[in-house]
């Protein structure tokens, strides 16, 4: 016993310093390897984020870019300006509408496609998967050009098809009432591929045994989907919900290339209006608007995590 103990003690005694020395070396190597990232992160991510936050509390304008420190602090004035701006309020409303319509539609479409591909479609699965995912990887500019043709009032494909069934289609992008809706539909089409791919992965993890057992108990397809599939993919659902919401809250490319925010500001988004303010050189106000978006994204994400957490 005693020899064993001493042996163990000795071996432990010799091993510990060696391991910790190696540990220190590993830590140093780790630090060294992480250093490029840390430096890049600090310089190009953390600092600009901090800087833009500071900027949002100053009266910085484009004329100050050569002397960025010679500006005055104005407290919350820029935030007040942002809230008082009717166009910014309209932009926030548009963004809200876009998220409220777009996120559920994207998730439903993605989930439906994933379920269909997971079960129903046999050999053509790969073809459909590629087909549904292609819009995600296509350039927004190319997509915008094609969609503009499709939505053309006079001889666009959409209105031509509608005219076959006797419907006089509207000027989708030129009419205030339909412009935002058109962008929502385009965004859903363009983005549901991503959620589909993630849902497909999530569906693989659903225990088939549970389905079998429930089927034996007489549960129908819909019942099994609601009571087994949906609860099983809750983590996946949360991930898709959060990433889609963040993406849609930053809604920018669609109005930027399709409508320029028009007609009559019907499609201008918070991000796009912020971008315009940066372009005009109102860095302080633009910074404040960007931070408001950031805060909203933070709150929405937090709420989603709360609502979707395991009970």
């Amino acid at each position: 016993m005693s020899t064993l103990t001493t042996d163990a003690g000795r071996s432990a005694g010799t091993a510990r310093p060696r391991r910790s020395r190696r540990g220190a070396a590993e830590a140093r190597a780790g630090l060294l390897l992480a250093l490029p990232f840390v430096v890049l992160f600090l310089v190009f991510t953390a600092w600009p984020v901090l800087q833009s936050m500071i900027m949002s509390f100053t009266d910085m304008r484009i004329t100050d870019i050569r002397t960025p420190f010679a500006v005055d602090f104005v407290g919350l004035e820029n935030y007040r300006t942002a809230f008082a701006d009717p166009v910014f309020r309209r932009a926030a409303l548009n963004t809200g509408m876009f998220v409220l319509l777009g996120v559920p539609l994207t998730i439903t479409a993605g989930l439906a496609a994933a379920v269909a591909l997971n079960r129903g479609v046999g050999r053509l699965r790969a073809v459909f998967r590629v087909g549904f995912y292609t819009p995600v990887i296509t350039s927004i500019v190319a997509v915008a050009v094609v969609w503009r043709f499709l939505l053309q009032p006079e001889n666009g494909l959409v209105n031509t098809v509608l005219s076959w069934v006797g419907v006089d289609g509207p000027h989708w992008l030129g009419d205030e009432r339909t412009a935002l809706l058109s962008l929502v539909i385009m965004a859903v089409w363009r983005n549901f591929g991503t959620s589909m791919v993630i849902f497909l992965a999530g569906l693989q993890a659903v225990d088939p045994g549970l389905h079998e057992a429930a089927a034996l108990d007489g549960a129908g397809r819909w019942r099994r989907f609601v009571s087994i599939t949906l609860p099983s993919i809750r983590p996946t659902m949360l991930f898709v919900l959060v990433t889609t919401s963040i993406g849609y809250l930053q809604f920018f490319e669609e109005p930027f290339v399709m409508t320029g925010g028009g007609p009559l500001n019907a499609t201008i988004s918070a991000s796009m209006y912020t971008y315009n303010q940066f372009g005009f050189g109102n860095y302080g106000v633009a910074g404040a608007m960007a931070y408001l978006t950031f805060v909203v994204i933070g709150i929405v994400t937090l709420v989603q995590f709360r609502l979707m957490r395991e009970k």
């Binding site: 004329t63 050569r66 420190f69 602090f73 315009n276």
Partner: protein
């Protein structure tokens, strides 16, 4: 490994705190105020240009400029010029960040609406006396003049005239192009009533850049949006109101499409659906390439119809030499070279950009086309947009109100009152 994140996090906080403290300590505006009167320009050194120059130019100009520079390099064997093409979309941002970082080029093409802003940033050198400015079109010279000082030179110009289908006008019983506001409206109506046109005249119902079509009407009516000193906005006036009401009448009377499709101007012009529009010289080749070989005989151009005067929008781009250029003498020599009448004509041959110098128009290659002659006439009275540092932002507000006027029947007086207060809120940036 578990110990590594801690110092990192501490470093971040430390850095952040240090930065914030540094900012707090360094912040606050100096009492100097605005830029004040410009320093007079130093003369250009004698002799040939030497050394290396960087030149930025946008879009098609950026691609074609190297060809034009060859002549300069042949005349000055010791100089090497590097042209960097910059896409228009990102040009403004690239310039402002380069100015901030002190890495601006020696010479660059400068958009005419950026002049005041760049001068406000202290980025452009005033033009030395050796470069004569008396041969430029008046509107073009205005676009390089900020607070009475000339910065750089106009490089090329463009202006807007009315394009119309002559064959369809004849069909509608009109053989002479109209010369006043009533005549323009009458021709547009005649197209609709007697030549099966859906719309009489293509006008932009608001949206980006629609101010460029409204401003000529305002100027033609004796109005304006900035006072002579460039310090006050003057959107509210009876002349401006009348001009905007005239523009609005095209939409309320069903002569112009209040919701036109994007990018169909050429097709609609060729098909006769919308046989009249207002645009610049680049549309000549655009409609001719859609319309085919003999289409050039089916349409004509005429100067903006007259109210008090016949005024139009003067666009184009300028050449500027940037402060801090390490080779400013060579830079100005290049600008001087590019603004000789012969080189302007050569550039017209390469790019079809209209010469900014009046004497270049005497050359055969420019004056041969009679449609260009119309542009030549219009250039005499065309006006440049106001050289106000915040003009782009004010113009965006203007565009938004024009859209309300055209699509929502907003009263022109109310729209102008709104723009006036918005523009005053934005300020002239001076």
């Amino acid at each position: 490994m578990s110990t590594t994140p801690r110092p990192t996090r501490r470093t971040v906080t430390g850095l952040g705190a240090a930065a914030a403290l540094g900012l707090l300590a360094a912040c606050g505006r100096s009492e100097e105020g605005g830029s004040g009167a410009a320093e007079p320009a130093a003369p250009i050194a004698e002799g040939e240009a030497t050394g290396s120059l960087t030149v930025w130019a946008m879009g098609a100009e950026g691609e074609k400029l190297p060809e034009l520079i060859k002549g300069f390099e042949e005349a000055n064997p010791d100089v090497s010029v590097e042209v960097t093409p910059v896409p228009w979309d990102s040009a403004h941002d690239k310039f402002t960040s380069a100015i901030a970082a002190g890495t601006a080029p020696d010479v660059a093409q400068v958009g005419s609406t950026w002049m005041a802003e760049f001068v406000g940033l202290g980025a452009l050198e005033p033009t030395p006396e050796e470069i004569a400015t008396d041969d430029y079109f008046a509107g073009a010279l205005d676009s390089v003049t900020v607070d009475g000082t000339v910065y750089g030179v106009p490089w090329y110009v463009e202006t807007r005239v009315v394009f119309y289908r002559t064959d369809l006008a004849e069909q509608a019983g009109i053989t002479e192009p109209p010369s006043d506001w009533e005549g323009l409206l009458a021709l547009a109506r005649a197209y609709q009533e007697q030549a099966d046109a859906d719309w009489g005249l293509s006008l932009q119902p608001g949206g980006t850049g629609s101010w460029q079509t409204v401003m000529p009407l305002i100027w033609s009516n004796g109005g304006g949006v900035v006072d002579d000193s460039g310090a006050e906005f003057t959107f509210e006036s009876s002349q401006n109101e009348e001009a905007l009401a005239y523009y609005q009448s095209y939409f309320t009377d069903g002569v112009s499409d209040p919701a036109p499709a994007d990018g169909t101007t050429e097709q609609d012009f060729v098909s006769g659906r919308v046989p009249m529009f207002i645009s610049g010289p680049w549309m000549m080749s655009a409609v001719e390439s859609v319309g085919g070989e003999d289409f050039a005989d089916k349409y004509g151009v005429f100067v903006m119809p007259q109210k008090e005067t016949s005024s139009s929008f003067l666009g184009g781009a300028n050449l500027g030499v940037f402060q801090g250029s390490e080779n400013r003498d060579a830079a100005w020599k290049l600008v001087q070279h590019l603004s000789t009448p012969e080189v302007q004509v050569e550039w017209f041959g390469i790019s079809t950009d209209l010469p900014a110098l009046q004497s270049s128009w005497e050359d055969e290659t420019v004056s041969a086309n009679e449609k260009f002659e119309v542009f030549r006439t219009q250039l005499d009275t065309a006006q440049a947009p106001p050289t106000v540092a915040t003009w782009e932002q004010v113009a965006a507000k203007f565009d938004a109100q024009i859209e309300e006027v055209c699509k929502n029947d907003l009263a022109p007086a109310d729209a102008l009152a709104t723009i006036q207060s918005e523009a005053q809120g934005i300020g002239t940036g001076a």
